[in-house]
Each structure stands twice: as C-alpha cells, then as structure tokens.
C-alpha cells in the first residue's frame, strides 16, 4: 500500500529576479479526459542549467514535460500558462510548429527516421526552407559534434541511421534536435533504453550542451539526476512536491514524501 502523503505541504523554490529564466509554468493543469493528471504545476527553469524531473511511474513528470512544447495537443487538455520569452505559449493561437523549433524534444526510445544519418539531421531543416548545401553540411557537422557523435559517423553519413547502436541513435536524435538551434531541450528519459556506457556518453553530451541550451530532463534514475542536474523537481501522483537545488534534495530533502522517495522507503 502506498502511504498517504499530504499534497498541502510542498517545498517549491523560486528564483530571484536577476536569474534569467528560459521557461516558466504557472498553475499548469493537465487532463486526460476526466482524469486530472497534473495539478497546479508552477515551476521556473533557469537558463543554461540542467533541471531534472524525478518521481515514480505515473507521477506526471512526462505529462508535464510533453506539455511544455505542446506535444500533448490533441492528446490531453492543458490549462494554465507557459511563459517563454514573455509569451504565453499555451495560448491556442500560438504557432506550435514555431514553438517546437525553439523547444526541442528527445524521447525515451531512440526514434531516428528510416533515412541516412545526414538526412535525419537535414530533413527538418530543408522542410523549413534551408536549401544551401554548404549551410546544411555545416549544420550536420556542428550538431553531430555537439552530440559527440561526429567522430564515430563522419565517414558514414550516408549510411542508414537504423544501423547505428541504440546509444548512437539516441545521440543522433539529440543532434537532430540541436540542429534546429533550439533554446530549450526537453529529454524524456533519454537513457532508459540504453546500456551504462551509452548512458555515460549521453550524460557527458548533456553536460557539454548545457553551455548553450537550457535542458529539462525526465529521469527514473536518481543517480543520474544527482550527477547531472543543478536543480531537481520531485513529482508525486500528479503534484509537484518539492523543487530544490539537487544537492539539497539528495542530502536534505524538505518534506516527508521526498525523504521517503530518496531513501527508497517509498510506499
């Protein structure tokens, strides 16, 4: 039996006015039909930092993440405000395709297109109207270097992306996202289908990418959250319970539910 925890007692940090924010949600609620999957999520994400979203399965962290770049459109109803550069991107008349170019996403299972490595990266760029071969080639190299994949694939750019290993495919998906030159990168358990060595590579890549992008990552792996993130949000049954600097969360959790989750005596 899952212990009952009060949803009243939460510990959510806010940031001083001089901390630049990349993204901020205000009272975000998510409904799947009549199922209220996310309650009052108000979180701020500082620029050029890695924020980890942790919690058990079904706690709503992926739901929250997918709402940030409107990937839940047509699947769930999302209310509340999502502030990005002083624009509420949860408004119905916002251009969602434009939003997704600024807020990229990498999924749980690597999902490269059934195309060559090069095509995987330039397909969306061409769809956006970039035709110049030199510009495209430069983007391919830059994004593959950014995802720490360039040295492994530079001689095989025309090979099928499906011939890559799982870890390489996932880094290709990261490269494909950063080729769009987004501001924010959302990652939904990007390492859960990968072996430990590939996981280390992806984590190193993220640490490097943090310099240019704001990263929000959902993870099941608490060690991973502890290793790479600057702050951590803990989700429980559709509520954000605690949002504190990662060091604080893992050494001195503020509320009972987080203490139990971190120590493994949850439920």
């Amino acid at each position: 039996m899952l212990k009952e925890y009060s949803f009243e007692k939460t510990a959510i940090q806010t940031f001083a006015d001089n901390v630049p924010l990349a993204l901020r949600t205000e009272d975000m609620q998510v409904f799947y039909g009549s199922n209220h999957a996310m309650h009052d999520a108000s979180l701020s994400f500082p620029k050029n930092q890695i924020t980890a979203l942790i919690g058990a399965s079904g706690s709503g962290k992926s739901t929250y993440l997918r709402s940030l770049n409107r990937m839940n459109d047509g699947i769930a109803t999302v209310t509340g405000k999502i502030w990005y550069h002083d624009v509420d991107i949860n408004e119905p008349d916002v251009n969602i395709y434009e939003i997704r170019r600024h807020i990229g996403m990498v999924f749980q299972r690597p999902n490269p297109f059934s195309k060559s490595i090069r095509e995987n990266i330039i397909y969306a760029l061409r769809a956006e109207g970039i035709k110049d071969k030199q510009v495209l080639a430069e983007r391919v190299e830059r994004s593959l270097r950014g995802a720490a994949l360039w040295d492994e694939v530079k001689d095989n750019l025309d090979k099928s992306a499906l011939a890559l290993s799982g870890g390489q495919q996932q880094r290709l998906c990261i490269a494909r996202s950063i080729a769009m030159e987004p501001d924010v990168l959302l990652l939904d358990e990007p390492c859960s289908a990968l072996d430990p060595i590939s996981t280390v590579k992806v984590e190193e890549t993220l640490a490097e990418l943090r310099k240019k992008y704001t990263i929000i990552i959902v993870t099941h792996n608490m060690q991973q959250a502890a290793r790479i993130s600057s702050q951590c949000a803990f989700f429980h049954l559709g509520h954000v319970m605690e949002y504190t600097p990662t060091a604080t969360m893992f050494s001195n959790p503020q509320i009972p539910v987080t203490q139990d989750y971190i120590s493994g005596s949850f439920g």
């Binding site: 939003i99 999924f107 999902n111 059934s114 397909y123 011939a163």
Partner: protein, 295 residues
C-alpha cells in the same frame, strides 16, 4: 492419451491439412499449365481473334487486360491513398469513422457481378458511355478501392508512433511528417498491396462483362492517338479482356479448338497473375531494403 501423444497427433493433423491445401493448389496450377502451355505460341499471344467463332490469338485481349489494369490503378491509387491516409492518421475514433469503415467493408464484400451490373446501368446505359475501357476501369475501381484503402491504412498504422512524434517535435507539420517520414516507411507494404490487388484486377471477369464488353475490335497498334477510334489507347472503345475472353470462348465459342484456346488463355492468365505475386514480393523486399538500410 498423454500430452506428448496429443501434441504428436495435433502436429500430424496440421501437417496433413497444410499438405492438402498446397497439394490442391499445385494440382490446379499444374493442370492448367500442362493443358494450356502446349497451345501457347507467339502467334497465339500476338494474333487477333475471329469475332464470330472466337478462334485465333489473344493479342488484343492481352493488351486490353494490361491497359484496363493501368487505367484502374491510375484512378484507384490516388483515391485509396487519400482515404487510407485519412483513416490511419486523421480520422477520430467516433461514429463517423466507424460508418466509413463499415461502408468500406460492405463495398469489399459486394459480389463482382453486382459491381458489373451497377457499372452497366450507370455508366454504360445512363451516362451513355457504352461498353468501354473507361466503364470497365471505373467498375474495377469500385471493386479495388476497399482492399487498397485497407491495405494503405494498415501499412501506415504499422509505422511506429514515435516516428510521428519525432517529426512533430522538430516543428514539422503533421502533413509534412506524414508525407516525408511516414509514407516512405510504409511504402514497401503499400506497393506489395498494390501489386497483389493488380493480380486480382487482372483476373477479374464478372465485373467487366457488362462494362468493358465482350468484343475486342481489331485495333491498329500503329495508332497511339487516344482520340482515334481504332487506337488501342482509346478509352471509349469496347475492350474484352483475357479473363472475359476465357469465359466467352468456353460458353459460346464456336471454334473447333475452343477447349484448347481457353486452356491456353488460362495458362497465360495464370502466369501473369503469378508474375504479379512474385513481382510484389521482389519489389516489396527491394523497397524495404532501400528505405530501411542505406543505398
């Protein structure tokens, strides 16, 4: 009886049933080919038919079959592609979609002779097009649409969801994702379905008797202007196909060698359909490798 004996018995039974099915098929194929092939010659394949007795070659009918097939596909592929994409990607799960699905199912179970009579009454009589290639092609389209639509829908639905998410997450529109990402992956399955349905269309007779007609007027194969009455490409001329020819020679053929003629024509028809099936496999596999692995 213990589990091992039961298992043994079941295995034997299944093997016997499979052997019976394969045996019947091979017997049929062998019978048709052995009785027909000795009478197939170059002059039979290219010659013209005597319109009174039905004797002579099947050149025109063979051409008609292919021409009708091409026209039918030209009409039915775009329509079923649109319908398949709609059903797989855009249709919501509501009563309207269920209605469309049942309509397609009903259409696919219509007896082909009913489709033929419908085509006869509507195109041949009402629209006064007469027995013609185009009437036949439209009737065959009715016959072909439900299967093709189903095939395209299933091929598209078989593409993993995460491919769509990948496209959308890069800021591509749904349509662009559909055409650029999903359709190429589904293409091998779609092509296989198209070629297999081509085999069915090629062998169809009942729907054509009343629409494309039962006569194969001598055409001038030097005249490729579709507007000319004697041109083989003229879509408004009557066009007896190979399958209809077989039926006709068997029921009202007056030639002395009618049995041999129909056997030979049947062998040609069977070989063509086998080639379609083989082609579907080869082309499907080739495209699959092309799309998934690298060039």
């Amino acid at each position: 009886m213990n589990a091992k004996q039961k298992d043994f018995l079941a295995t034997i039974t299944i093997n016997v049933i499979v052997a019976a099915v394969v045996g019947i098929l091979f017997f049929l194929l062998a019978y048709i080919l052995i009785s027909g092939l000795p009478h197939v010659s170059w002059s039979f394949l290219t010659g013209t038919t005597d319109s009174f007795s039905g004797a002579g070659g099947i050149g025109v009918q063979l051409f008609n079959s292919f021409y009708l097939l091409v026209l039918t596909m030209l009409i039915s592929i775009p329509i079923s592609l649109g319908a398949g994409i709609y059903l797989a990607e855009y249709a919501k799960d509501n009563w309207r979609t269920h209605l469309i699905r049942s309509a397609i199912e009903v259409l696919s179970s219509l007896p082909s002779v009913v489709v033929g009579l419908f085509g006869f009454l509507l195109f041949v009589v009402k629209f006064k097009i007469g027995f013609s290639v185009i009437s036949g092609a439209i009737a065959l389209t009715f016959f072909n649409l439900p299967l093709l639509t189903r095939n395209i829908e299933e091929s598209l639905s078989a593409v993993p969801r995460n491919q769509r998410e990948a496209g959308l997450s890069l800021g591509m529109s749904k349509w662009k994702t559909e055409i650029g990402i999903i359709l190429p992956v589904a293409l091998p399955g779609i092509v296989t379905g198209v070629v297999l349905s081509a085999g069915r269309v090629f062998g169809e007779a009942a729907a054509l008797i009343y629409t494309a007609g039962q006569s194969a007027p001598v055409t001038n194969f030097a005249d490729w202007n579709p507007m000319d009455a004697a041109s083989p490409l003229n879509p408004l001329r009557p066009a007896e196909t190979l399958a209809v020819h077989i039926w006709k020679v068997n029921t009202e053929g007056l030639a002395n060698n009618a049995a041999q003629l129909s056997a030979a024509a049947s062998a040609v028809l069977i070989i063509a359909v086998l080639l379609f099936n083989l082609g579907a496999r080869v082309l499907g596999n080739y495209l699959y490798r092309r799309v998934t692995a690298s060039k």
